[in-house]
Amino acid sequence: MPKQLENPRIGVKEAIAVTALFIGAKAFLSYQVPLYHYGATATWMIPVLHVALAFAALYPLLWLLDRHPDKNIIQIGQEMIGPYGNAALSAFFVVILIALTGITLREFGERVVSGFLPDTPISMAVLLFIVASTVIAFLGFDAIARSAYIFGIAIAAGYVLLIGLSIPFWRLDAVFPLGGMGAKSIITGAVITSGDMVEIFILGLIISFVPRNAIRKISYWSIGIAGVLLASSTLVALLVFTYPVVSEINIPTLLVSRIINIGRFLQRMEVIFAPVWMLSALAQISLGIYLISSVTTYALRLPYNRPFILPAAVAVTALAFVPNNVAEALSWDIGIIRRYTFFAVGVPLVLLYGLTILRDRKGGDRAEKQQENS
């Protein structure tokens, strides 16, 4: 195992925080927007189905990790499909991570410019994000996870406050009809947008940095917390703006914070939302950069991952600038990444899963034969 990557060891709470933020930070972007088209008044059910899907995909992943003690997905690939096959697999994971992180970076940068700093060029906004995230990624996984834990507390507190302050603006009839456009539409929507949960595959990567016996606890809690965040943000936006108005909004959570107006003082709560929003983005981007570098390091079986931090940041920034504008970035995100990646990532994992079963059977047959011979 690479020496540098052996060292960081984080606690269960930090691991839950960083994974939950990586999965759930999209709640502060446009995650909900495509869902409303499928779920209408029952859109909040789609994140719940996403969580169920994530748990369903989690079991084979955990099984795979159990069968290969002390190994992460990349190392399992090295063992099961050899160096060349694993190079392709690692490259695929790197591409997925670059795509996820790059598009997230671009979207957050665009939101900063359009929502708060209209005179600032997008390059400066992206530069801010990438510099801060790269520095923290350079400090190591423990710095990312610990920051995520600290900010996770602040984000949770800010988010709960935001939801609480928006209660006077809820229209409870917005969830009726409860079934929305019907079960078929909801399930179809959940399957099509299943890529929203693709981030769970990082559990197969961060296993090298967390207590291995706690990976189940980390998985359940992080997916659960992210699920609550995603479902509640979808529901609150629906309650505040109602369908179909909510489906026309770019960033529903930001708009919820803007609409708050209680008395003459509690108005325009972006002051609460902005830190929540930015900190979750920074945690997500820094983890993305770190994971890109660590996957590369594991794939190339090198001792240190730090030399790959800067190239990873450059790759992420480059991809962030590929879309011409925010609309194109959104279409990439919603139309491509969130639509297909869950299954695309599932294919190599299923391959590893199948190969492991075959190996176990062969190993078992061989063991039985050896036992018979002896």
Partner: protein, 653 residues
């Protein structure tokens, strides 16, 4: 009858055992008696009732300790002299004389070589580091030490020759540095004892027929004499043996007096420290209303005493650690041997003893030399002037580092949460303690973010500000010609000037500075439309927030970081501040104090008593912080208020 006599003797009679140490009561008299008996036995006229000569000799041997036996050899030889042949004595003396001559020649050669080296190397460090042993010849020792201490140019070192009132007298020399010793102790414990009261032992006395005049001539000290001087003659309360020039020099520099005796290649160091120091006073920067009002002072021994006064436990260890070129006794560490992790103790000692510096004369310099990340802004060592805080730290398994000439102790490892605590938190009831801590955290947030937030809100995010407040701010700023950031920086710099000037200004005119600061920089700046009135409020709240931080070094860190947040806010608004915050917290998560994460027990989340963010009940403080990894984690049982249980006191008994 004989059997009954034997039983009676067995039951009623015990042969008294003699004390072994010379300084025990009456031993001197018994030595004289033994000597007289031996002298009498030489004439073969045994006095009735005194037993045989062999038994008397045996008695003498019992009386003396091992070292005294050496001293008595001369007496025994003298007593047996009439019986043994003169030829035998002559052979022994001849052999001894040759050995002494050989030794003298060797010493002379070494002395000359050393003098030559000292002429060549003015720093003398190599000579001192060579651990050269003292010579037997007093003159050699005196000359070498005079060279080392730069006599006669240097007037501080005092070389006081004396004659130990032995019979015959022995030449000696005491060396000390004037001004750092207690003269009265030197007079009473050394000079008076040796010059006037040392003539109690006669074991080296010449025969009665020897001319009286010869007995006044000084002689070389006999073997074992040093031990006798240490045990019986010098009345110092702490006496130790010194073997090398380096040890002797260090002892003298530490305020002790070194006694060198002619004929001995060892010396004695007698505790006579008398450094000038102020008395124990009140803390200057860590004041409390409830709790002890004692503060550490500049003398290390007083400080160890103040801490030991609080922690009266035998496992409280004070170890002197040699730091760089400083003297041996200038730095010490204190810890509870049964609580502190030995690995931590070892690490602290390793860092201190491996320092290669010439002048770490204050704990502040030492702190900079031993911290984990010298480029980090946050202090990684808790510097406190309160002995009770040091004691509390030691009881948690931390280690205190004390430096002579510093009224601050360094407590390691330190975390962010220890920086935000005050001794008073524990001395008041838990709701008050928790509340004051919350106030402090609020103050910290204000000191760090408020000016930046003002700049961000006034420059970029006017929508964040409620309309009425926005109108008030805008109205106040209407006549100010500067941009917000310039206005804020002007006032910040002005306030930093007031604060710095307030520290340096003599106390008697300190109030004037307050008036100057408040009136001229506040009222007049507003009247002159240089700054807006709202900014005065912002700066005042910021300053109060910074003052609420109980640790001075941490407060300085916040003062400095505030400018980073303010400048980031001027460029990118609140997003700039969040980026700086992200980097700041990320850097803090990576920071360690002696291997302990700076943000523990928050991250990594570790077990500890409810006394890190808020202050829990006193009876809830059951465990020591896990991140220090103490040998014993338990402070008190789950039920510490045993009286509250029904019949609790009886059960406990």
């Amino acid at each position: 009858m004989a059997f009954l006599d034997a039983v009676r003797k067995y039951l009623l009679f015990r042969e008294p055992t003699e004390p072994e140490l010379l300084f025990e009561s009456g031993i001197e008299d018994r030595l004289l008696e033994a000597e007289r008996l031996l002298a009498d036995s030489g004439t073969d006229h045994s006095a009735p009732g005194q037993g045989s000569r062999r038994s008397r000799e045996r008695k003498v041997r019992r009386v003396g300790s091992r070292n005294v036996k050496k001293g008595l050899d001369g007496v025994n030889n003298q007593a047996e002299g009439n019986k043994q042949s003169l030829d035998g004595d002559a052979v022994v003396e001849n052999v001894q004389g040759q050995a002494r001559q050989t030794r003298q020649k060797k010493d002379q050669r070494q002395f000359e070589e050393m003098l030559a080296k000292m002429e060549a190397d003015r720093t003398l460090t190599g000579i001192l580091d060579a651990e050269i042993k003292l010579f037997e010849d007093l003159e050699y020792n005196q000359k070498i030490l005079e060279k080392i201490f730069r006599k006669p140019t240097n007037v501080d070192p005092v070389f006081r020759p004396l004659l130990i009132n032995h019979d015959p007298p022995v030449k000696a020399l005491i060396v000390f540095i004037d001004g750092i010793v207690q003269g009265s102790v030197i007079i009473s414990a050394i000079l008076r004892s040796l010059m006037l009261q040392a003539s109690l032992r006669k074991d080296d006395a010449p025969p009665e027929d020897e001319p009286r005049g010869d007995r006044r001539q000084p002689v070389k000290a006999p073997p074992g004499f040093l031990d006798r001087v240490m045990r019986a003659l010098v009345a110092g309360h702490q006496v130790s043996t010194v073997k090398t020039f380096k040890e002797a020099v260090n002892e003298v520099l530490n305020g002790n007096t070194v006694l060198i005796i002619d004929g001995l290649d060892k010396a004695l160091s007698i505790e006579t420290k008398g450094f000038a120091n102020r008395g124990v006073g009140e803390p200057k920067i860590e004041n409390v209303i409830r709790g002890p009002h004692e503060a550490l002072v500049e003398q290390i021994r007083v400080n160890t005493g103040l801490i030991r006064k609080i922690l009266r436990h035998p496992s409280l260890v004070t170890e002197f650690v040699k730091v760089g070129d400083a003297s041996d006794a200038q730095y010490a560490i204190m810890y509870r041997d049964d609580i502190a992790n030995p690995a931590l103790v070892k690490e602290v000692k390793r860092r201190l003893s491996s320092l290669k510096v010439d002048f770490p004369n204050e704990s502040g310099i030492l702190e900079q030399l031993i911290e984990d990340s010298p480029y980090a802004l946050a202090p990684q060592v808790l510097a406190t002037e309160r002995p009770d805080r040091v004691a509390a730290g030691i009881m948690e398994g931390r280690i205190a580092i004390l430096a002579d000439n510093s009224p601050f102790a360094l407590v390691v490892p330190a975390t962010l949460f220890t920086m935000m605590q005050s001794g008073e938190d524990a001395y008041v009831r838990w709701p008050y303690g928790s509340f004051t801590r919350l106030v402090r955290w609020f103050g910290l947030a204000m000191a760090l973010f408020l000016p930046g937030f003002y700049v961000a809100a006034a420059t970029y995010h006017q929508e964040f500000i409620p309309t009425d407040l926005l109108l008030a701010i805008t109205g106040a700023r209407e006549r100010v010609p500067f941009p917000t950031i310039v206005e804020v920086l002007l006032m910040e710099v002005a306030f930093e000037l007031i604060r710095e000037g307030g520290i340096r200004i003599p106390g008697t005119i300190g109030t004037t500075l307050g008036i100057v600061g408040a009136l001229i920089l506040g009222q007049a700046a507003v009247a002159a439309n240089i700054v807006s009135p709202i900014l005065i409020v912002i700066i005042a709240v910021t300053a109060l927030g910074a003052f609420a931080i109980p640790n001075y070094a941490f407060s300085l860190n916040i003062r400095l970081l505030r400018f980073a947040y303010t400048l980031a806010a001027a460029v990118f608004g609140i997003f700039g501040m969040i980026f700086v915050l992200f980097l700041h917290v990320g850097a803090l998560t990576n920071l360690k104090s002696f291997g302990v994460p700076f943000l523990a027990p928050l991250v990594p989340a570790t077990k500890t008593s409810p006394d890190w963010f808020l202050r829990g009940h006193a009876w809830q403080q059951e465990t020591r912080p896990d991140y220090v990894d103490p040998l014993s984690t338990k402070r008190q049982p789950a039920v510490s208020r045993w009286w509250s249980r029904k019949g609790g006191s009886e059960d406990r008994a």
